[in-house]
């Protein structure tokens, strides 16, 4: 019997292709296709008065120019509100091409199709659009003041208002021995995958079908959306996600305007059209996140135990709400973290502004929630003169209280129930691993350095439904193919799904090929988001592989004439006590054939010696082949958790903030591949560091984007991210057969909070908003002194 592959740091085949330079990303496809480019709004808010195409139309190599007036059918309609919600009382979405008003910089106004991108961009430059600038609403304070409206008829710029309460929080705060009020804020940043967006459409006139390649996180969902919008039968639309160079949420939005327009133009022109976004477009026209302002009132006792928490916050949702209220809803429900709050009331307003849309970015609203909760606990500790870690411990939900119901409705519409976890153990391990208790000594040992230590805890609802599916096939060569509807953008799905199937079928992971994100191969999926793929997809793979295993045993039992329960699968074969049949042979025997086309299939024809002439070749309830499909649909989300400790060193003169140590202790249930898990955590922490110290998308009051390139919008480099120490604790989830919980996003969630705590500790200055740059910290020092 081979050792299990689940739990081992197996490496995958995709990594070898990428390292060899033979990846197939969106722009590597469709070399003969016409190129699209877009004229985009340079204004935050403006009326489109006139579009002059006269000069543009003379450029050799131009194929077509389209404005809103040229669009037809569903391409003329506003883009869908993908996730409606009863609290979203004023949903608004943009048109694929703006008609009379543009509402953020980067909004597409004209589409150009030309022989190549150079020509398409030349044409864009020759198109003159006259605008009448309108007052832009930039930032939460301006949106709240509502001197101007982003959308006529949306009073106060409020897209949605929602309240949830567990207990009577206001009364609990009022009755508590101590009370504090805090105002906290987080600014805008964005996912910024290294590959920008891209779409490539191939119409096939002969069979009236359309194939769309998109750098998407939701191929199956995009297919259904495109079929609906372009009014095509779904079975005439194929969507394929090729290799995708990172997503982190931004590639979950679908359809993007460009995802409608490129296929629409391809159908209209009867030729292949491709659009590959450049970085300037991506920063302006793709989505952002994080911008929120919170007001907190907390009541607590002398031990630091929270008795009641009342939070009101304002969420900047940008110009439109295609994703509804997911981000603030997640913030509001994940804010309590691993704590028992006595009573909790949260109310938010989602506000329109004249900026790019806001949709989930890795962590999806949780980093803001963790920032608010953890800042609050630090404030309590400061007020009481207590140890910050100790205050957290006193508020933590105990393992004996699991499963723990927070009394809130989560983003999937289900009750927010924590399935399992040992939060005090996570905390203890993090304190030990980080030298928390010896930090004072360390500080004394390095007196010339300005050091600070910070801590932050989080939970993450992961692995939500509705479902994912998988098909597992064993071919007559014994090779296993796992096909899922999920896409992958670097999360190692190919590796972890291969490990799961390999264990179920007794083969090696390298004998398993995993196919992701191709609706021709597997049409049903929700998508890769919310740390759900290993949980929902992984369990679907396990269930499908178990069906295949059962069939393999059944077929082999008949061939060997022994009961199935005396058989097992190992080393690529079905094994009885003294005999073994290769899985390849079982696959042949599982498919009664009419035709023999090679030496293997000869033994499976109806004329094979062991065929029973009195039985139908295929049982009534059976299907040919070692081939099974299964779906996994969880009741509710699993809940991962973790504790981060950051040690910073700050330059006393320049206020430069450097991370000295970073410790992560986390629990994602049973890890399928520890190396993949750690890679996800490290990447998440790095993005969190970016959000805490470097990344900020800034608009001028006129709505112009001030950070339009990666020279202004700073992403962390190798010099900005320290070594990260990771420890795993495991409480298996009772909610799924594999006992796993998600880990894709957790790494990012508490980073801002941990770093804020550490900077505060080093400087003795209270931090109430992130990110914090050296210049801002320097200013704070001056203010603090004065």
């Amino acid at each position: 019997m081979t050792a299990p592959h689940v739990g081992r740091p197996v490496t995958g085949a995709a990594a070898e292709r990428f390292a060899a330079g033979t990846g197939r990303f969106l722009d590597d496809l469709g070399s003969g296709a016409a190129a699209a480019a877009f004229v985009r709004s340079p204004h935050g808010h403006a009326r489109v008065l006139r579009i002059d195409l006269a000069d543009a139309e003379r450029v050799p190599g131009l194929i077509a120019v389209f404005t809103y007036r040229d669009l037809t059918g569903g391409a003329r309609e506003p883009l869908p509100v993908l996730i409606p919600h009863p609290s979203l009382h004023s949903p608004r979405t943009g048109l694929p091409l703006a008609d009379d008003v543009v509402r953020h910089v980067g909004e597409p106004v004209v589409m150009v199709v030309a022989v190549d991108r150079y020509v398409a961009e030349d044409v864009c430059r020759l198109i003159r659009v006259d605008y009448e600038p309108l007052p832009a609403v930039i930032g939460i304070p301006a949106a709240r003041r509502a001197d101007h409206l982003v959308h006529p008829g949306v009073a106060g710029n409020v897209a949605a208002r929602m309240m949830q309460e567990n207990g009577d929080a206001r009364a609990a705060v009022a009755a508590a021995p101590h009370r504090l009020t805090l105002r906290l804020g987080v600014e805008r940043s964005a996912a910024m995958p290294m590959e920008c967006r891209g779409v490539y459409a191939r119409p096939d006139r002969d069979d009236r079908s359309l194939r769309v390649y998109s750098a998407t996180q939701a191929a199956a969902s995009l297919r259904f959306a495109l079929a609906a919008i372009l009014d095509l039968p779904a079975d005439r639309v194929e969507v394929v996600a090729p290799d995708v160079g990172g997503g982190f949420g931004v590639k979950l939005v679908h359809p993007w305007p460009e995802e409608v327009l490129v296929p629409w133009a391809a159908l209209r022109l009867g030729r292949e059209v491709k659009w590959v976004e450049d970085r300037a477009e991506h920063i302006a026209a793709a989505s952002h996140e994080r911008g929120q302002q919170h007001e907190v009132e907390v009541g607590f006792d002398g031990d630091g135990q929270v008795r009641g928490l009342v939070v009101s916050f304002w969420h900047d949702t940008g110009a439109y709400t295609p994703y509804g209220i997911i981000v603030p809803l997640v913030t509001s429900t994940q804010l309590p973290g691993p704590y028992r709050l006595g009573a909790y009331r949260v109310e938010f307003r989602s506000l329109y502004t004249n900026t790019a849309i806001v949709t989930p970015y890795r962590g999806a609203g949780r980093p803001q929630g963790a920032f608010v909760m953890e800042r609050t606990l630090d404030a309590i500790a400061r007020f009481l003169g207590a140890d910050r870690a100790e205050v957290r411990r006193r508020n933590m939900i105990r393992p004996s209280e699991m499963p723990y119901d927070q009394g809130l409705t989560f983003q999937d519409g289900r009750p927010l129930v924590y399935d399992s976890g040992d939060y005090p153990a996570l905390l203890d391990t993090a304190l030990t691993r980080s030298g928390w208790h010896d930090f004072a000594t360390r500080r004394e040992r390095e007196p010339d350095k300005r050091l600070g230590i910070g801590i932050a805890c989080y939970v993450e609802g992961t692995g939500m439904g509705p479902y994912e599916g998988a098909r597992v096939q064993v071919d007559t060569g014994g090779h296993v193919t796992v096909t899922v509807g999920l896409t992958t953008q670097g999360q190692g799905h190919g590796t972890v799904f291969a490990q799961i199937a390999a264990d179920e079928l007794g083969v090696a992971p390298r004998d398993v090929t995993v196919v992701c994100g191709d609706t021709r191969r597997f049409p049903y999926a929700a998508g890769t988001f919310a740390s759900r793929s290993a949980v929902v997809g992984g369990n679907a793979v396990a269930l499908a592989a178990r069906k295949v295993r059962d069939k393999a045993l059944r077929v082999a039992a008949r061939a060997l004439d022994v009961p199935p329960d005396e058989l097992s699968l190992a080393d690529g074969a079905v094994v009885a006590n003294d005999r073994a049949i290769p899985l390849a042979t079982v696959a042949v025997l599982a498919n009664p054939l009419r035709y023999a086309f090679d030496h293997r299939t000869r033994q499976a024809t109806q004329f094979a010696p062991d065929a029973d002439p009195d039985q139908p070749p295929l049982d009534a309830d059976d299907a040919p082949g070692l081939d099974a499909t299964a779906f996994f649909s969880p009741i509710r989300s699993t809940v991962s958790a973790g504790v981060h400790v950051a040690v910073v060193e700050i330059d006393p003169d320049t206020a430069e903030i450097a991370l000295r140590n970073y410790v992560v202790v986390h629990d994602c249930g049973r890890p399928i591949n520890p190396a993949v898990v750690e890679g996800q955590i490290r990447g998440g922490v790095a993005q969190g560091i970016g959000g805490a110290l470097y990344e900020r998308i800034a608009y001028g009051d006129d709505g112009r984007l001030r950070t339009g390139s990666l020279a202004d919008l700073l992403l962390p480099t190798a010099h900005d991210v320290p070594e990260i120490t990771i420890d795993h604790l495991v409480t298996p989830s009772p909610l799924n057969p594999l006992g796993v919980k998600g880990v894709g996003e957790g790494g990012v969630v508490p980073v801002m909070a941990a770093i804020a705590s550490a900077v505060e500790d080093a400087e003795g200055i209270v931090l109430d908003r992130m990110p914090i740059t050296p210049a801002e910290l320097w200013e704070l020092r001056q203010k603090h002194r004065g």
Partner: protein, 161 residues
């Protein structure tokens, strides 16, 4: 737009191509010559995904018009394989150390590390970090990339262990 015939040696093979004066080396490599490992992440010279070796030195191919490298030797990630056609030692080290997630920054990393190790065959951990600091990676958090540089630099060429 004036067109020019240029001659490049890409990964040791002579290539003759006609390009407009403004054609970027990145586009020339990717679209004219099908060396698609040269990725474009910004066209602003900041991300490093498009890094290739020009006469052995790492350069941002998105900042170079192809005509300016007429007659030069270009190395892309496709050209960093081992002589037997398998993965080269830097490529192997990246795979082994989990330095590859989405794979988009990977070719730029490969050529940067190859060039770096030529200059600095036995790097310290700090130097290994410098080796990857010119290319942005949004997935890995860099630690596994640093490990890969150190692994590739081992005396046995990262062949074992």
């Amino acid at each position: 737009m004036s067109e020019h015939e240029i001659e490049l040696s890409v990964n040791g093979r002579r290539q003759v191509v006609r390009v407009p004066a403004r054609r970027l080396l990145s586009d020339c490599l990717r679209h004219d010559l099908a060396f698609t490992s040269t990725h474009v992440g910004c066209e602003q010279g900041t991300c490093g995904a498009c890094t290739v070796l020009v006469d052995g030195a790492p350069m941002r191919s998105c900042l170079l018009p192809a005509v300016t490298v007429d007659g030069c030797e270009i190395t892309t990630a496709e050209g960093c394989r081992a002589p037997d056609g398998g993965l080269g030692r830097v490529q192997r080290a990246l795979v082994r150390c989990q330095g590859v997630q989405c794979g988009f920054c990977t070719p730029g990393m490969v050529v940067s590390i190859v060039a770096f190790l030529r200059e600095c065959p036995r790097p310290s951990p700090e130097q290994a970090r410098d080796a990857v600091a010119g290319v942005l990676c949004r997935c890995t958090g860099y630690q596994d990339l640093v490990a890969a540089v150190l692994h590739a630099a081992r005396p046995d060429g990262g062949a074992s262990g």
